[in-house]
Symmetry: C2
Subunit: 201 residues, 2 copies
């Protein structure tokens, strides 16, 4: 998605080979009209997938997911990060460990907000190793529903998240695919290229 | 705001004298079209306040704040809940203690996203004792900017948050003002009534 790539090139800050800051328009400060445009693009891309709910993981995915849900005319569900297990039977939970941040949490979904008939679209801001998205897929499957698609704003194509999700049978659409980062350097993969991770096997 | 009161009456769950669950359309599952309507109402209410940025606190305020920012044509900024102090000089931080939840966090704002010229509108889903909103007001004031208004979806008018904010000189607009909760009971204050807390002094 050319417009997202241009914005990342202009405002993003590559701090190292793995860290890309997009605080000024996605993560901390959010440009609502730009986010609406990204949401429309996802809705257009997934319009024939029969999506019944948009899921996201708190909190950076909420802004784009809201806009996708609005244009698909379906509810949005925020998967919560709990520090501990909830012991009553009305929730699905799965443990997520972020290697980057060195933290763990229980990704949590109240069972009221999913049913076996649902076809879920997961929206998140970043895809790196795919820990969070894989965890969300476990929650969806615990409920008997189908994870029909995954929409990502910024994919780090040099990490293995996309490959891991595709190997598990999921469909992934990323609006910007970053092939290389370095201090001051941000490079993108053309939209029709296979991932770097896939190429290097 | 009649439509929000009706939706709370229909889908909200009063669990006790202080706990109101609105998980099905605001906090966990979100109705994006309804949220857009609430956002439009806030934007209309605050259109002459000269707002330059909409602030919210992660994560339940993000969905409505996005919509307000969209209709006011200004950026939205998400105040982050950090577990610890950030020791470099580029942030404003203030400690928030939630008596309800028994937790504490450092409300955090990167200084890049506020300037002394800014007129801030703070949007949040709930107002009870006003701990979070008061913390946000401290951050805004640390930066030299002005907190020009506070917009709340659901005010618990039987708690002292509104009075506390008004006593500190802030303008508060709440879309629904809950005057009493009890198991199965939800009552509202008419829009032009003073708060219960103010009356009882």
């Amino acid at each position: 998605m050319r417009l997202l790539e241009e914005r990342i090139q202009k405002e993003g800050k590559a701090l190292s080979e793995s860290v890309l800051k997009v605080d000024s328009f996605i993560n901390h400060q959010v440009d609502p009209e730009f986010m609406e445009m990204l949401g429309k693009d996802f809705a257009e891309h997934f319009k024939d997938f029969g999506i019944t709910k948009v899921f996201t993981i708190e909190s950076s995915g909420i802004a784009p997911a809201m806009m996708v849900a609005k244009y698909l005319h379906v509810p949005m569900v925020i998967l919560k990060k709990q520090t501990s297990k909830i012991l009553n039977g009305n929730v699905y939970q799965t443990r997520i460990t972020s290697f980057t941040k060195g933290t763990s949490y229980e990704l949590t979904l109240f069972s009221d907000y999913i049913s076996p008939d649902d076809r879920i679209l997961l929206i998140d801001d970043f895809l790196a190793n795919g820990e969070a998205a894989t965890g969300a897929s476990r929650l969806v499957e615990q409920s008997g529903a189908k994870l029909a698609g995954i929409g990502i704003l910024i994919e780090k194509s040099f990490q293995n998240g996309r490959k891991r999700l595709e190997d598990a049978g999921y469909y992934v659409y990323s609006q910007a695919r970053v092939s290389r980062l370095d201090a001051g350097v941000i490079e993108f993969l053309p939209e029709d290229e296979p991932t770097v991770a896939a190429q290097s096997e």
